[in-house]
């Protein structure tokens, strides 16, 4: 394509982006999906007196069942609770990389990784809570405020992130980062943080291998990468070299994904109702889908609601145990632990 045409196209694309609402509604196309019954554990997190969760952006568990919550309170903070929900400690107090929480994940070695979209950083804590690696860099103080989030992004760089959203690892320890709101790509780094390759770019797109807000990711035991392509209302699957493999587009808007460990892995995706919208006012009805890795839907659970047991904008899930799902909700400032009863799911033809 001649350069002039490319430029014209990009301008047109930008105009379309600006003109359209931030979210296009996407009713999940999957029909007759069995409902998986569940109960939410009451009073899960015991907050010490004077400590409050703000928006619960990320939740993750480690191998001992400890629960990590990355939250936007007055400042962005990372808390650890034990498996019973008793408060253990705060991690990363006052560190340079915490400004605006987005995701927390725990790797197979129990390292805790926090993704911050306010500093463009991914921060790795070892199990003792010390920072042992960082990806990306916070813009220097004051200079950051002069950067503007409007207009086309400059070419994506190897080691600079643009409001990253999530992190995951393959069995070899390679690191995958979804990046994010400014760039629209997934980056693969080796275990030491060296850039290997990316799929997508600084530009949003809806073709295979392009993204419009890659908002979360998860990696299975074969190293395949599942990406929540939020504003394209779909999930995309890539092999370990970030070559496109499949698209799952019948599950509404994929906000967050999770792949359970173990010999039979399951895939979860949340069709969250958008921010600032009351339950029931949007086509995105807030449910979570349980799937096989190949995309077959096994069941669904939950719905948008501010009530305990309902979901008011699920931002992230933990599925270390596929029958015990943790959800972090933005607009209820809470974390819930859901005890699924999959055996009780009504049998129906799911597609």
């Amino acid at each position: 394509m001649p350069a002039l045409f490319r430029r014209a196209f990009s301008v047109l694309g930008l105009a379309a982006l600006v003109a359209s609402p931030a979210f296009a509604q996407a009713k999940a196309k999957a029909q007759n999906v069995p409902e998986i019954p569940y109960e939410s554990v009451p009073n899960l997190l015991k907050m010490p007196p004077g400590l409050y969760l703000g928006e619960a952006m990320g939740v993750a568990t480690n191998s001992k069942g400890h629960i990590f919550v990355f939250t936007r309170s007055a400042n962005t903070r990372l808390f650890e609770f034990d498996e019973k929900g008793n408060y253990v400690r705060e991690l990363g107090v006052g560190n340079y990389g915490f400004e605006f929480a987005h995701s927390v994940r725990v790797d197979p070695q129990d390292n805790i990784w926090a993704v911050d979209e306010g500093t463009n950083m991914v921060i790795k804590f070892n199990p003792e809570g010390r920072i042992v690696m960082v990806l990306g860099r916070r813009p220097e103080a004051a200079l950051g405020m002069l950067t503007s989030p409007s207009g086309p992004a400059p070419p994506a760089e190897k080691y600079t992130l643009g409001r990253p959203t999530d992190v995951g690892w393959d069995p070899q320890g390679n690191i995958f980062v979804s990046d994010g709101y400014v760039n629209h790509r997934v980056v693969k780094y080796d275990k030491n943080g060296r850039f290997l390759k990316q799929v997508g770019s600084e530009r949003a797109g809806s073709e295979q291998g392009q993204f419009n807000l890659p908002h979360g990711l998860a990696v299975d035991a074969q190293g395949n990468v599942y990406v929540a392509d939020r504003s394209n209302n779909r999930m995309q699957v890539f092999d370990n070299n970030l070559v496109f493999r499949a698209v799952y587009d019948n599950i509404g808007t994929s906000w967050s994904v999770c792949v359970s460990p173990g010999p039979h892995q399951y895939l979860f995706t949340s069709n969250s109702n958008p921010n600032g919208n009351g339950p029931g006012t949007w086509e995105n009805t807030g449910e979570i889908y349980k799937m096989e890795l190949d995309g077959k839907i096994l069941g669904r659970f939950g719905h948008a609601s501010k009530e305990f047991g309902g979901f008011q904008v699920v931002h992230m899930m933990d599925c270390r145990n596929p029958d015990q799902i943790f959800v972090a909700e933005i607009e209820s400032w809470r974390v819930q632990k859901l005890m699924l009863k999959p055996q009780a799911a009504k049998v129906a033809a799911a597609k």
Binding site: A22, F100, E140, M145
Partner: protein, 204 residues
């Protein structure tokens, strides 16, 4: 109703409204003064200071709740999005004015206090002007419900260095390629630098 009837009805309604507005004014001269004593009952712990007292309310036991603008309201910048933090606190005193506790410490939604109310079940509701949130605390001080959502970032005008080149261009020269989110650098102008920063299209 014909247009003429509508007009007549509207005129009549306007006349009644005008009369209603006048009557209380003339009646007010007859209002008697209610005598009262004033006390300053709230006993503040050391180094907790009441700022602008935006809201006060009591519960069924006579406990006093004060939602006040105090401390340091701050804006921080990671990238171009200014994040608002702090600036308001909620305190509880008993009916004798003894300090009981603080509620909602470091809450995400406490920015510019506007009001506090206590409902018949003794739940404490605060209204915050800047976060545009209503937060319901149960009598134990735990959050029970949220209405509205704080903006992820605030629109504030960017401040240009006095006498310097337009900030966007200055930024581009000073830190070329060091930030992935420089967007208007090449085409930056003084005018756009002074305009409010546009919010990002997508949030969360």
């Amino acid at each position: 109703m014909t247009p003429r009837q509508k007009m007549l009805a509207l005129t009549a309604a306007a006349a009644i409204a005008a009369a209603a507005a006048i009557v209380p004014l003339t009646a007010q001269s007859a209002v008697s003064e209610i005598a009262f004593d004033s006390a300053d009952p709230l006993k503040w712990p050391a180094n907790i200071h009441l700022g602008e007292a935006a809201g006060v309310a009591t519960n069924s036991r006579g406990d006093v709740f004060v939602y006040t603008r105090t401390g340091h309201p701050t804006m921080t910048f990671g990238t171009a999005r200014p994040f608002a933090h702090g600036g308001s606190r909620l305190f509880q005193f008993d009916k004798t004015g003894k300090f009981v506790r603080e509620i909602g410490q470091d809450s995400y939604g406490f920015l510019v206090a506007q009001q506090v109310r206590v409902d018949p079940q003794d739940n404490v509701w605060i209204v915050d002007r800047l976060s545009s949130m209503v937060i319901k605390f149960d009598p134990n001080g735990q959050i029970q419900m949220l209405l509205g959502r704080k903006s992820e970032s605030e629109r504030v005008p960017a401040v240009a260095p006095r006498g310097a080149a337009p900030p966007a261009r200055w930024c581009w020269w000073s830190a070329p390629r060091s930030m992935s989110t420089i967007r208007e650098a090449a085409g930056g102008s003084a005018r756009s630098a002074f305009a409010p920063i546009a919010p990002a299209a997508s949030t969360s």
